[in-house]
Each structure stands twice: as structure tokens, then as C-alpha cells.
Symmetry: C2
Subunit: 149 residues, 2 copies
């Protein structure tokens, strides 16, 4: 499942600019994923943590990226697609005209997909409404029957 109501894990915002850093374990706990997952996302080019000696140090930028990544996943995007969006996000203002136009094309695609998703959700919600009301009805029927019997 698109990972239902995520515990809305979020970092404490000490003032406007929280300059704190995270170990991989901290970040993992914060978003309820495993360290392995975080390393894998790095390997796939979604994160680029600092290195202090051998160990990774994550900054707010990485935390935001990870958040975006998990949001994308909940919507069924692949990691490759999410990386695409992240690169758009980071390199939007530079590049030549052809690149910029290509970006706008990709953006239009993502938008269309999300529009489709909105529509899909709308329809599915109605269908769930339907099932639920039928469920409630038979439940009440059972209850009435028990009251009589």
C-alpha cells in the first residue's frame, strides 16, 4: 500500500534555519525506514550526504530530499522518476534552452499523471463509499435481527 498515514515524522525546527545534522540511524528513525534504504537511495543518486571520514553526515537538504522521495513513493512513482524530479528541482535555472524546454515537458507529464491520480482517487472514494454503506446496512440488519430473536 502507499504506506497509509505516515506518523508525520518531522524534524524539530529550531528557529527558521535548523543547522543540525543527522546520522544515518537518526534519519532512518525519523522517517521509519531502514539505514539500508537510505544507502540504497544514495546509490540511486537521490541523496548525496557529506562524508566525515568513513561515516555519512546528513544535512537538512538531505532530509528534505528523503521526504520528497518518500512522498513520491507513496504516490507510486519509481525511484528513477523521483530522481528526475529532484534533478529538475536542483538544476531548474541552469542549462540551455533545449534543456529547459525538456524540463517543462517532463513537468507537464508529471502534472498530467497527478491529475489522473486525483481523478482515480475521486472515483475510488465513491466506490469505497458504496461498499461501506452496503456493509453498514448488513451490519444493521444483523443487529435488528438479534434484537428480535
Amino acid at each position: 500500500m502507499p504506506d497509509a498515514p505516515q506518523p508525520v515524522a518531522e524534524a524539530p525546527q529550531e528557529g527558521a534555519r535548523s543547522r543540525r545534522t543527522y546520522t544515518i540511524g537518526e534519519l532512518a528513525k525519523l522517517f521509519e525506514v531502514t539505514p539500508r534504504t537510505i544507502r540504497f537511495y544514495e546509490q540511486e543518486g537521490l541523496l548525496e550526504p557529506e562524508r566525515r571520514g568513513q561515516t555519512r553526515i546528513y544535512h537538512d537538504k538531505d532530509r528534505v530530499r528523503l521526504k520528497l522521495t518518500l512522498r513520491g513513493k507513496r504516490l507510486g512513482f519509481s525511484l528513477a522518476e523521483i530522481r528526475e524530479v529532484i534533478q529538475l528541482y536542483d538544476h531548474a535555472p541552469d542549462g540551455d534552452e533545449r534543456q529547459l524546454r525538456r524540463m517543462l515537458d517532463i513537468l507537464a507529464d508529471k502534472r498530467a499523471a497527478m491529475q489522473q491520480q486525483l481523478e482515480d482517487i475521486r472515483i475510488l472514494q465513491h466506490e469505497l463509499d458504496d461498499v461501506e454503506s452496503r456493509c453498514q446496512a448488513s451490519l444493521q440488519a444483523l443487529t435488528r435481527q438479534r434484537a428480535k430473536g
Copy 2:
């Protein structure tokens, strides 16, 4: 990707009750999937076509189920989850109280997931807005520069 703007393939509705049937190939073309995919969905318990001799015959019920399945996939649900919903859909009114209550629980879960998705889409759309405006800005900058040079 959640399969962007699907060509909104849909069957002709000859009157209210279209009693026509479909071969696997027809159904596949209608929704732009392969026959293999349709057989796989059957194997996973999502479809139950009639058999005429060896070959499968699909009715409107199957078409609706397939449509629901693809909608679920666009939202990132797994086939197992979709099967769960389909079974809810088909067996909502029967079963004892415990089963009905369990159904309502599952329904609540799906609802929560979809609420989360709505929120995710809202946020992502804003982020895409941001990227796009930055894109447009640098594009205009390039154009102005060219006009001068």
C-alpha cells in the same frame, strides 16, 4: 510512473446493459495492456473469466474489474491490496458481524491512505509549480538576452 493520462479506453455502451463479451485480445487492446498481464491478473485472483472450451470469455463484470485494477495500480496499490478491495466489493453484504467489522476496518485504512495521497499530491503540485516558474524565468532570461545580443 502511475501511467499518466491513459487513453481513457472504454467500451461502447450500447444502451444501459451492454451484454457483449470480449476475447482476451480485445480486452487487452481496450486497456492497452498485454494478454499476458490479463492472464496474470486472473492467476492472482483478480479476474474470473468464463471458459468456452479452452479459451477465455470476458464479460462486462471482468471489464469493470480490470478497470478497477488498473486504477488501483496507477495509485500505487499492489495487486494483493486491489484484490482485497475487489473482494470487499463483491462480498460486502454477506458474512458475519466479525467479518463485516473487519471490512470496515480495511475500508478505513484504504481511506486513510487515499487521504494521505491527496495531501501528497497537493504538496507535490506546489513543488512542481515552483520548479516550473523558475524554469520559465530562466527561459525568459535567455530570450531577452538573445534579443539584446
